[in-house]
Amino acid sequence: MITDGIIYGINKNMITVEFKGDIRQNEVAHVIIGDQRLKSEVVRIRENLADLQVFEDTKGLKRGDKVEFSGELLTVQLGPGLLGQLFDGLQNPLHKLAEQYGQFLKRGKAVAALSAEQLWLFSPALKPGAVVRAGETLGTVPEALFEHQIMVPFNLTGIYEVVEIADRAEYRVNDKIALLKDGKGNLRPLSMNFFWPVRQAVNIYQERLRPVEPLISQIRIIDTMFPVAKGGTFCIPGPFGAGKTVLQQLTSRNAQVDIVIIAACGERAGEVVETIRQFPQITDPLTGRSLMERTIIVGNTSSMPVAARESSVYTAVTMAEYYRQMGLDVLLLADSTSRWAQAMRERSGRLEEIPGEEAFPAYLESIIASFYERAGLVRLRDGRTGSVTIGGTVSPAGGNFDEPVTQATLKVVGAFHGLSRERSDARHYPAIDPLTSWSRYQSFIGSEQREMIIKLLSRANEIEQMMKVVGEEGTSIADFLIYLKGLFFDGVYLQQNGFDPVDGATSKERQSHVFELLEKIISGYFAFDNKDEARAFFQKLRLSFLNLNSAVWDSDDFSRYENQLAGLISESCQQEEDAIDITNRQAFMEQDFDSTFIRARSTRTLKDGMPLHHGDDYRGEDADDLQ
């Protein structure tokens, strides 16, 4: 039986409804205003009054307006045809809305996520008589690059027998393709799509595994220094304009995964437009297909309803989990999780809950944690693996990381890519600060090498600070060289021109190759007579290296610049031959870099780049393995 109610109060997008009968927390209801039906969700129940967040503008609503409760939770539709689409936070396809309703997002207009007309070529994967459980494959349809698996709906519990299964032919998503029978003999017809409540994680798998395989983003500072693993989590906090969005856009283009889901959460509509207009024109070099075919965008941008912004990240992660169940690697990028947190703050404020820090609700931390917990590498019941990797940007108030959302996020993610204002002001992109960022995941370079670079950079930074006090004349030439090396490594490797067609994306092979070259320079011994000479040399080296960076991998230009560089290096740098043997050289370097690294390290990293202060509440993949 469907419960009705009437509006008692209105406070922006929060309404209070007087109801009779039974309703449940988080169920969907519709406010009826004229011929419009405004979607809303129950967020609190007190006696005969329920508070509902309305996913639309509430202008013109009156006390006494009718509300219909649906009995259903907030769900998304799962089936073939999600890829390549642009949805709003409630999974309305925006292109279809535009076709039907024009330039503006009219209130109360909804369209099904999946086209009811489109035909899909279904191939059955099993025969009548087979026994199946939730999540198992009934058959497949080709969708973009993949064999999209038509699975037994995730919400079916227990074991079913396949009574009928459709023949290989074309069907619409709502056509019946199978008939199942449960243990009691009840029949259950299935189509190619089903609904799943967004706030509930899909957890039908054998086990969760520890994320180890690097997810290659083709951004050097990330892959080499602060890597992300498939099934892992990372966050990108940074003040406005530091490059969070550009970094995510680059990642969404170049990351080597099967599917990318972009949750544009409460940020600029223009940024979504760039993606939807450009991706169809870009060919993914890995697959030779348009990038849009592996992408789903959930765009609930800043001027769209705030309550729908709150649910948009769940819409996105639910679709990610759905494709993960097919054994695919899915990357979810959320920009910005702070807007999502702010949407919760607005809701909490209207509910007059006791506020925590900066008026965020007291449960902020646990909600952030449970969102990132939906990432993971899993072994499915049929033995294949699939993963959801989640990366969220954070937009801290005043650019100060010491605020609730950043802090709560840092507690739960596996990698931290902190953007710094100094670096972005100096146009050192990507502005990830190598001295504060960290990652718990394994890089393709060894951890000693990673450590060596961190040592170099922190020592170089220290010398730079020192030089501000004692001047260049008060700095030894040995120190000055370390400073130049740090500057050089930063300039030609960590910095990367995102808008350059070549430099914008660096493959793993190329990173390894170039890194080796750089290692030679960093560990090389140079004899210069004076600082100006040293500086001039590194300027020259830098220029050659930048040329190398914009030369196509494996091209003639590349080898030419590489030879040029090799020439420059052998001219001024005494390599192993004349320098002491390897171990000695290592010792020499350590002595050079170490003095302060100990301190830097103790504040920054403990194990695999994991921050020390998280040692006490380490709840990483080790713990997950036990599940």
């Binding site: 008692y8 109060g9 209105i10 406070n11 922006k12 503008d57 202008k59 013109g60 609503l61 009156k62 006390r63 642009l86 925006l94 809305l97 024009g102 330039q103 503006f104 997002l105 009219k106 003040p239 406005f240 304009g241 409460g266 600029r268 509509a269 223009g270 979504v272 437009v273 760039e274 939807i276 207009r277 941008t301 800043s302 001027s303 702010q342 703050r345 607005e346 404020g349 506020p355 008026a359 965020f360 108030a397 005043g398 650019g399 100096a426 146009r427 501000k468 001047g471 260049e472 004349e473 808008f499 600082k531 100006d532 500086r535 300027q539 020259k540 220029l543 930048l546 040329n547 914009s550």
Partner: protein, 442 residues
């Protein structure tokens, strides 16, 4: 005739509460007060208790004052006749012109469907190198001037407005000093632009809350013109006053503040306005250039902070010039790839070197010996400031690029600039030009 209510049960700040029936959320009302009646808007409903934000302020309102609901939300007249006219913050004529009652459009705040937007692609030329070369302004961009009291921000606004090739200019003033209003109006008039301008001006002397509607009025009119195919530039000065008015309402409603007294939805409130900037697929565009004065010149203050997160960049106007650091046009890469091939490289290279110059200045100030490199940087920095940074410089983009190469070649050897060999081969000025610059400078 609609019912008149006179049971005012609460007056707090600019918010009053009246008992009434059948009132819609967001509906407007007229509240009778001793000094004349004032417009008000329904901001909360709780049973039959209706909370109203009174734009004229609550001063003098009695428990028996009359409240008449109008049955609709905020509307604004829209027609070509608006051009050249000046209105106040609630849309009433400020000049001697007629009042419009036809063709009223309701301000719905419906967002544009992102699927219907196009990627901005047309550069707006301003003749200011710090904008054109370093942070290009783009049609349909929303961008703010971050500045502080006393800076010539209104002069900058009017300069951009006059230089820009737009069809219609909307000027929204919030809490502007009367002098500034006259200055802006005169500037538009003298520049011959007043006849294609529409002004909604709330002055500092008027009730604070009356500035709350200025952005909505301007943007609704701008959007209507854009849908007719016009390219519209909206100037909003000063958005900090708008935010402060929002803060007052929130405090009157006893909302828990999120940050330094400002409400938690400040971001969403600002976004609802700034996101009106748009380039329509089959029609015109709306570009927003606003002024945000930073209290205490502090960019981490909630107003500039939230603004920076929404706008597509900001120009820092400090000591009478647009700062090269921090200033940012997020859309510049959409237009500077097609302007001239050296545009991007010059833009980055010049700023890199200017940053190095700043460091050298610091060192110099601390009394360190200047190396040969430091001395080059010092020459460079001085030339850069004089020939490009100064706000009085008014040259087209191509000239600004040429000038950049001349400054570079006068100060550095090619490989010291960090620019690619390809560009250097093509653009590095030959010697006689260099000596010419040297002469010019002498």
């Amino acid at each position: 005739m609609r019912t008149i209510y006179n049971k005012i049960r609460r007056v707090s700040g600019n918010v009053i509460m009246v008992q009434a029936e059948g009132v819609g959320f967001g509906e407007l009302a007229m509240v009778a007060a001793p000094g004349g009646s004032s417009l008000a808007e329904v901001i909360k409903i709780e049973d039959n208790r209706i909370f109203l934000q009174v734009f004229g302020g609550s001063s003098g309102i009695s428990t028996g004052s009359e409240v008449q609901f109008l049955g609709h939300g905020l509307k604004v007249a829209f027609s070509e006749n608006l051009l050249g006219r000046v209105f106040n913050g609630i849309g009433e004529p400020r000049d001697k012109g007629p009042r419009f009652t036809d063709n009223l459009i309701e301000i719905t705040g419906e967002p544009v469907n992102p699927a219907k937007r196009v990627i901005p692609h047309k550069m707006i030329h301003t003749g200011i190198p710090m904008i054109d070369l370093f942070n290009s302004l783009v049609e349909s961009q929303k961008i703010s001037i971050f500045t502080s009291a006393g800076e010539p921000y209104n002069a900058l606004l009017s300069r951009v407005a006059l230089q820009a090739q737009v069809d219609i200019i909307l000027l929204g003033g919030m809490g502007v000093r009367f002098d500034d209003y006259l200055f802006l109006k005169n500037a538009l008039e003298e520049g011959g632009a007043l006849t294609r301008s529409i002004l909604f001006i709330h002055t500092a002397a008027e009730p604070v809350a009356e500035c709350l509607m200025v952005p909505d009025l301007c943007l609704a009119v701008a959007e209507a013109f854009a849908l007719e195919g016009k390219n519209v530039l909206v100037l909003l000065t000063d958005m900090t006053n708008f935010c402060d008015a929002l803060k007052e309402v929130a405090i009157s409603m006893e909302q828990v503040p999120a940050n330094r007294g400002y409400p938690g939805d400040l971001y969403s409130q600002l976004a609802a306005r700034y996101e009106k900037a748009v380039d329509f697929e089959e029609a015109g565009s709306v570009t927003i250039l606003s002024v945000t004065t930073m209290p205490g010149n502090d960019v981490t203050h909630p107003v500039p902070d939230n603004t920076g997160y929404i706008t597509e960049g900001q120009y820092y106007l400090n000591n009478g010039r647009i700062e090269p650091f921090g200033s940012l046009s997020r859309l510049k890469q959409l237009v500077n790839k097609d302007s001239r091939e050296d545009h991007r490289a010059i833009m980055d290279g010049m700023v890199h070197l200017y940053a190095d110059y700043q460091e050298t200045l610091e060192k110099k100030a601390m009394g360190f010996r200047m190396s040969a490199w430091d001395n080059k940087l010092l020459d460079y920095g001085t030339a850069f400031e004089r020939e490009l940074l100064d706000l009085s410089v008014n040259i087209p983009l191509a000239a600004a690029l040429d000038r950049s190469w001349q400054i570079l070649s006068a100060c550095f050897k090619p490989q010291e600039t960090g620019l690619s060999s390809e560009l250097i081969d093509k653009f590095w000025p030959v010697n006689d030009e260099k000596s010419k610059v040297d002469q010019d400078r002498a």
